[in-house]
């Protein structure tokens, strides 16, 4: 029993991170009084263990000691999250679109119609009938299961994918929306071909905290915001580390278009770069190193292949233009003299490049180019040399791989996977990449692409051609079942998605979700889901610096409204379809009949029985395991490869860093957008997103759209304490999503601080509240993504600032179906609110909750 907090009747351990898919984090304690959540606080791992029992690590380096955190360091989001349980936007009961019936489906009204209350029995009747109908009329494959992405991290009651196991494995087949390597695009499509970094394309992280503390002199935080992105996956530990790095004399230089939240407090220097021009900056650094003899030629000779191709390209290449700092200055906006200083500093000091995923560096058009050129630069300075690696501030231990454990490792990774009821990434029978979902819905002839675009897939999968429908005998799509209804505010060209959802061929859309938000507005049937505060579950937190811990999450509060868990809903539907037992029987033959059974399955599978008995575990409600005695001996990043590449090759075909990729050359000989070695591609067949190009004349700003500071993607946009902290109040009393504009640009635009502005391109427009700030460089505006959609005109415009609606449709490049959701062209102008309110009275007269924003009662009849 976890120790009760002051004033609490009961206290409950909860994993309060938002990865959703099996990556637990942010372990906290929720105190409850009189049936209501009282507070959320950090978890103390030493409640049942001493630091000595856990072999708590410490790193002594350069006169200071960094200790293992024995308490969690929750982000503010985890504290404020309780508001989501009590949100007025919770789906109160099953809802049916009032003008939908099996006879009259009215797809054209999706996103416009209101909903009416129905009973669970009626809802399950409809779900059962529609699923049966799909299989009878079209056969397997006509149902699209949209089932991945981020949400509450749950195990048994998995937020995502419970229906895939039913539809794909039991019912005979479905089409799955296959999640991209969405926060890792540039590394996945680019870097992976140089160093084969499993599972995301990023470099080996093993024991890098130890390496950095001891050896690194300079951290290049390239498009990196460790005070934002890790919040959903690891809390404030990255922040603590960053202060420690400064304390022991490690310089931090930030290269980004914005003074992000980490640069704001940790930067020794900020180098403002135009979004999606990093490749030019990188090429110019290589130019300085080559011309001034500042790189490790011996390493390049012994550890890489194809460097001469890169050297040729940098020194002139096909275009004949040397990639000098002066050449780069024109493109990336960084003074040539600063580029030279940066190049020399990097060559002089033990340098690691640090990242936090997302943003324009890695989610822009052709992001594979900077992604892989970074590896080439690291190679030129001896990748794996003490202090010289690529470091990521969070997300360690992904998929349990040793190579991703940047923190001191533990003796056991107690997995919850045996209890997981969600979907695993696999070789789907039928799938459409998430970036191509609108095209998949609208398809009338086969749609083709390369790869199964999911992390953990071997890079060779990128060379496979896939299609939808998978065969000529397969049906096109006629139904969607989604448990992750936030595509429109998280992916590429949400306006096209809105159009696709209104297609007459799409007969039925069913969403299950705790809140009536985003894609739910386009569903025909909405099923209410409970939050994790209302559920019994099991969870863990592994390889995050804190002790590896496995815990039971007991319910804190009664179920709100008529909600059921995601898994329960799928079980309910399986029962209606007469396949419940088959659905609940897993590959090992276990009948997963209830939550308690699943918890025991997970415990038995976790390896914890060597450390604690089942009875004691139930009493403690958590179990932590010690760090390894010899954790210091684990190789640091690429150290083994650095020391002996023949004995310790990387897992490329040649065993070396493939600066020139023969595999890319062989498989895509005609691809001018991703050639065998890095190139600067300003514009191409797929994208014209350069401020110097023709579209740049019409849309002169580049939009930076980072992982949001006060949300996790689409989650939490209605949390009152976060809204009052972050939103920009317009003169019409609406809380707009902030847009950072440099004061010099604002002056030219005639925009004042607090004005509402329109951000637009040919794909549509969204509104935002202008914040005039030096935190963004000129020529660039910044608005976080993931605002909760408040449509003005469906498929065209949005009041809440959901800028993914106007992100490019085109994927990373021709043969790379990754997302491009940052660093693209927009125009900016002051919005005329009076005129807009006149032109769009429905949208501008919606009921607004003063604390939570647009009310769901705008969408519910009665």
């Amino acid at each position: 029993m976890v120790k009760k907090g002051f004033g609490a009747d009961s206290s409950h351990i909860k994993g309060l991170g938002w990865c959703s898919v099996g990556y637990g984090s942010n372990t906290g304690v929720v105190d409850v009084r009189e049936g209501k959540i009282l507070r959320t606080r950090n978890f103390d791992y030493t409640e049942c263990y001493t630091p000595e029992q856990l072999n708590a690590w410490s790193i002594d380096a350069r006169g200071k000691t960094l200790h293992a955190p024995m308490k969690s360091v929750l982000p503010p989001l985890s504290i404020a999250y309780k508001s989501r349980a009590y949100s007025k936007n919770r789906v109160p009961y099953p809802l049916l679109r009032e003008d939908w019936s099996p006879e009259q489906r009215n797809p054209q009204n999706r996103g416009k119609s209101k909903y009416k209350r129905i009973s669970w029995d009626e809802a399950l009747d409809i779900a059962e009938a529609e699923i049966r109908r799909q299989y009878e009329v079209y056969g397997p494959g006509s149902v699209l299961c949209m089932c991945d992405g981020h949400a509450e991290t749950k195990t048994i009651h998995c937020a995502h994918g419970a229906m895939v196991n039913l539809m794909e494995n039991v019912m005979g087949g479905c089409t799955v929306s296959a999640r991209q390597a969405d926060s890792w695009e540039g590394w996945f499509w680019g870097a992976e071909h140089v160093w084969d970094g499993f599972p995301t394309g990023q470099g080996y992280q093993s024991n890098l905290l130890y390496d950095i503390c001891n050896n690194t002199e300079l951290l290049l935080c390239w498009g990196c915001d460790q005070e934002t992105t890790p919040w959903g996956w690891g809390g404030l530990w990255a922040s603590v580390m960053s202060f420690h790095f400064s304390d022991i004399g490690i310089q931090q230089i930030y290269i980004s278009p914005d003074v992000n939240y980490a640069a704001a407090v940790h930067a020794d220097k900020w180098i403002p770069v135009y979004p999606n021009t990093d490749l030019a900056l990188q090429f110019a650094i290589a130019y300085v190193w080559i011309t001034e003899d500042l790189y490790d030629k011996e390493y390049i000779a012994t550890h890489s292949v194809g460097f001469d191709w890169l050297e040729y390209e940098v020194m002139g290449g096909e275009s004949g233009i040397p990639k000098t700092p002066e050449w780069a200055e024109e493109i990336c906006g960084v003074p040539a003299r600063t580029i030279k200083s940066l190049a020399r500093r990097w060559a002089k000091q033990a340098t690691s490049v640090a990242h936090c995923n997302g943003g324009s560096y890695i989610r822009s058009a052709y992001s594979h180019e900077p992604g892989r050129m970074e590896v080439c630069l690291l190679a030129m300075q001896g990748l794996g040399k003490p202090g010289c690696n690529q470091f990521k501030f969070f997300e360690w231990g992904l998929l349990g791989t040793e190579s991703t454990k940047a923190m001191p490792a533990s003796v056991l990774d107690p997995s919850i996977i045996a209890a997981y009821n969600g979907a695993f990434t696999h070789r789907y029978q039928r799938f459409v990449p998430k970036t191509l979902i609108p095209e998949g819905i609208l398809a009338e002839k086969p749609l083709y692409w390369h790869s199964i675009p999911c992390v953990s897939m071997p890079k060779e999968v990128q060379f496979e051609e896939h299609r939808f429908p998978a065969t000529d005998d397969d049906p096109y799509l006629h139904m969607i079942w989604t448990d992750s209804p936030c595509w429109s505010t998280c992916w590429n060209d949400g306006n096209m998605f809105s159009e696709a959802l209104r297609n007459p061929n799409m007969e039925f859309i069913m969403a299950q979700h705790p809140w009536l938000e985003n894609d739910c507005l386009y569903a025909d049937l909405i099923l209410p889901v409970s939050t994790k505060y209302e559920q019994l579950d099991v969870n863990n937190e592994l390889n995050q610096g804190t002790p590896n811990t496995f815990f039971i999450e007991t319910p804190c509060i009664d179920v709100i409204g008529e909600a059921r868990t995601d898994w329960e809903i799928v079980c309910n539907i399986a029962e209606r379809l007469g396949v419940l037992e088959e659905y609940q029987t897993d590959a090992g033959g276990h009948l997963r009949k209830d939550t308690e059974t699943c918890i025991k399955l997970a415990f038995d599978d976790s390896g914890l029985s060597d450390f604690i008995s089942w009875d004691d575990f139930q009493k403690q409600e958590y179990a932590s395991v010690p760090y390894r005695e010899n954790w210091r001996d684990a190789p640091c990043g690429y150290r083994d490869f650095y020391e002996d590449p023949e004995k310790n090759p990387v897992s490329t075909m040649s065993g070396k860093l493939e600066i020139y990729s023969k595999a890319l050359a062989a498989n895509f000989p005609d691809d001018r957008e991703r050639m065998p070695y890095p190139h600067y591609i300003e514009e191409g067949e797929t994208h014209q997103e350069s401020r110097r190009g023709l579209r740049g004349e019409k849309y002169p700003f580049l939009l930076v759209s980072n992982h949001p500071r006060w949300r996790v993607h689409a989650q939490m946009d209605d949390v009152p304490w976060l809204r009052e902290l972050s939103k920009q109040m317009g003169e019409d009393g609406y809380a707009y999503e902030p847009v950072w504009i440099n004061p010099r640009d604002a002056e030219k635009l005639g925009v004042k601080d607090g004005d509402v502005v329109k951000i637009y391109n040919e794909r549509g427009w969204v509104l935002g509240g202008a914040v005039l700030t030096e935190r963004i460089r000129t020529g660039v505006v910044s608005q976080d993504h993931g605002a909760r959609i408040d449509p003005i005109e469906r498929g065209v415009s949005d009041r809440a600032g959901a800028n993914n609606l106007i992100a490019p449709k085109g994927t990373t490049s021709k043969n790379c179906p990754g997302e491009v959701t940052s660093g693209y062209l927009v125009g900016v102008e002051k919005a005329d609110l009076v005129q807009l309110a006149t032109e769009y009275p429905d949208a501008f007269n919606r009921a607004i909750d003063p604390q939570e924003g647009p009310s769901i009662m705008n969408w519910i009849r009665g």
């Binding site: 507070r39 503010p76 603590v240 700030t773």
Partner: protein
Amino acid sequence: MKVFVFDAARCNGCCGCQIVCKDEHCGNDWMPYAKPQPMTGHFWCKVDQVVHGQAPVVKIEYTPRMCNHCDNAPCIAAAPDAVYKREDGLVIIDPEKAAGHAELVDACPYGAIYFNEELSLPQKCTGCAHLVDAGELPRCVDYCATGALRFGDEEDFADEIAQAEVLGDPALGPRVYYLNRPHLFLAGNVWDPDANENIEGAVVTLLDAEGAILSKQETDDFGDFNFKRIDAGGYRLRIEAEGFKTAEREVDLQESLYVGDFPLQR
């Protein structure tokens, strides 16, 4: 007697102190010290934010503001029957006795008192007296991951208090101390336009309006200099580098400034 000590150099700006204050008090009754805080609109702990400088030298200053728990508290003077000071120094608005005392909002020179319309009650930071009584820390302090915000006995913080500033009138005896406040900076860049190179090692002298030398720096390998933690006023910058003509510039510093670049002439 208890004090709060905030170290600006350790603050990551996460605003967690502001959020946990709401977590502890919104909708939660901690009588006899506090009735529930409204869901929004009150900031018993509020993080102020100032953007310093201009591209490419920009830093953010975060400052949590809570009740100063003054030793000579104007709110106690304004309503001595309704506001009291505990033995440990925390100033408490008695929720029973202060009902209706809207004037207390204006009594605080720092805007730390808010009026709860629903309860007709002035409210503010209690220092989480309910937790302190139980031997725990105020929520904002307990939460702070970086150790920027601390709380404890005055004598234990004596050395730091000697270095600290207060935000407010010292005569009122505020008990919240601020370390390492950044004040203002004056930054710039020195370079050689003929070679298109930054100049490392240029000597940059900061003088006051009368010409007295205040400080000297050498530019780093990016040609950058930055005089930190200085205050508003008239300054003169002198830039000297071997082989170049000396450059000077007058600066009327009102806010942190990236003064621009100095292309030195040979």
